[in-house]
Symmetry: C2
Subunit: 341 residues, 2 copies
């Protein structure tokens, strides 16, 4: 497991409980976490790791991955490129990659889907060898998973032979469902972070006004988000059924109710600028990945997919609010007046 933050560490619980040996490697930002885990509870999850899980400091990557039968990557989207490059330099032979990182990467000015970028660098390292990839999606909050609260995840597999691997990490409290489409799961997982900001913004607006909840607006936003995600996935050649699965509706439901991106939106809706909101959260150790999902997602959609942002009016609205700093209230209201739903 590459990455010892919330999610990487939480996934080690079902991995271990389903009978596997687990090596947890922390990046150069995680050395303190690894140190703490060796003495007591995981500092973010508040609970100790399973006894048999081996922990590795950032300098010990080679040892951590040498004999691994597969590798999970659970770093932030910013961290994906350096970590994956380091992994490829270190690793001798191929193995399946299971990706918990959500979003896009930017390499020399070009924004790409993580799986596409990974496949390219993989091919230059392991020329001619098969690229086996799983994009992991679904509504799984790490703090709940590590307490064994029942959770379910969808594993978008690049080939049918990986379905068995997905099944092998399933436990009664962590149900894993393989799904035969990487793009659908990957894009749903990335864009739901963007759209969850929109749900948060609406709640922030009513809080600022000191009125009751604006449920009706949230219903419109949720519905439009699902519709736009289906369009994005189809355009990318994926299966839009993924949007109507755990990766889409299931995850957006949870992310919209709670979570960092929702909170980021709430701060903006309540009147804080996107920059201040982002920095306030960073100061508390909370990364609002949805900011990047809006910026890079729009970039990717326009550049790589040759799409017109006018076809995705809600994403355009979020872009104007979050990246361009326009008024949340005016933008949301004008979206609703103009939307086709």
């Amino acid at each position: 497991m590459l990455g010892a933050g919330y999610m990487g560490s939480a996934i080690t619980f079902p991995l271990f409980d389903s009978g596997h040996s687990v090596n947890l490697w922390g990046t150069w930002l995680d050395d303190d976490i690894i140190d703490s885990c060796r003495k007591g509870p995981h500092p973010k999850l508040g609970t100790p790791l399973r006894d048999g899980v081996k922990t590795y400091l950032s300098n010990d990557l080679a040892d951590a991955v040498a004999d691994a039968q597969c590798v999970f990557v659970a770093v932030s989207s910013e961290g994906f490129i350096p970590v994956f490059r380091k992994f490829l330099e270190t690793r001798r032979d191929v193995c399946p990659v299971l990706c918990l990182t959500k979003g896009f990467v930017e390499d020399r000015g070009r924004v790409k889907r993580i799986s596409k970028w990974a496949e390219e660098v993989w091919s230059s390292r392991f020329d001619g060898e098969r690229f086996e990839w799983i994009s992991i999606g679904g509504p799984v909050k790490a703090s709940e998973l590590s307490r064994m609260i029942p959770s379910a995840s969808i594993y978008g597999v690049s080939s049918d032979s990986l379905r068995e691997l997905a099944g092998a990490v399933s436990t009664p409290y962590y149900r894993v469902f393989p799904y035969g489409d990487v793009a659908g799961v990957e894009l749903s997982s990335a864009f739901k972070n963007a759209y969850a900001i929109g749900l948060g913004i609406c709640d922030g607006i009513y809080k600022r006004r000191n009125e009751e909840d604006y449920h009706n607006i949230c219903g419109i936003i949720f519905n439009a988000a699902i519709g736009e995600m289906a369009e994005i996935v189809e355009r990318a050649g994926g299966d839009k059924g993924a949007v109507y699965s755990l990766a889409g509706v299931g995850d957006l439901y949870v992310t919209g109710r709670s979570g960092r991106n929702r909170r980021f939106g709430e701060l903006i809706g309540a009147g804080s600028t996107p920059k201040d909101s982002y920095e306030k959260m960073m100061g508390e150790g909370e990364l609002a990945e949805g900011y990047d999902a809006v910026a890079k997602g729009v970039h990717w959609y326009e550049e790589q997919q040759k799409g017109r942002l006018d076809d995705l009016p809600l994403l355009k609205t979020l872009y104007r609010i979050v990246i361009r700093g326009k008024s949340p209230e005016e933008e949301i209201y004008s979206f609703i007046e103009g939307c086709g739903c």
Copy 2:
């Protein structure tokens, strides 16, 4: 508008604001409401009706509907049969019917979709005349609509000629989208009340345990609900696209966050029996329509659709909890361990 409760009264705001004459008739249960509205604010909405809206007591149905160009029905599902029969007895000629009532009706031991039952009695009253019907769905909480908080609704029309009518009641704060399938909108609206109970139950369980939220479970339930609703709609010959629209995902998002059925589920999840929960809410003037949606929905699915409840494991779980009184915790956990998601 037949029915002066929350929803019927709230819809009079956009109807009036979009330039129509509106007659609001209260059933025999609503006479006190009509009396109050004539003197001051609507007792449930807390705000006065628009000045031009005419109010009618239960005895004055004939006057209320005589010249109407179309009729909205917004009574509870229990009230639908007597009110619609009375309307047909009173009314001289045909007009389009727009139905806000959600759920099923039971007539001589047979459970039917409201639109199907209405069409039958309509045909025996207006033999040979065209039955024009709109099923109204979407995430619209009445208290927000009457405060002009932006809301959107989907009107499932029985023929394309009704699209214009749907458009004619749209306002900037009440966006109306016509949709060419009655069954999809009607069934999504009915079953989302049943499935919202499931979301409430999960929140009730964690409250009883005094733990943090169980978001991951709710994500699983939300996702399974959408999947089963799509199956129900398809089996009934409807368009499952309605499930992925305002009538399905949009409305379930709002109903799961807030609302009477969610609260009913929460009481059950926290340990109260379904009967006690239902009666507690009735004592506060709150009808948990989802109870009926589970009971009648299952009956309808098995009898009218010849469906096997085993194909809808979440609905079966809710039936066992809400109707058969089984343990919420055991049933939900066993659903999750066995679900195919």
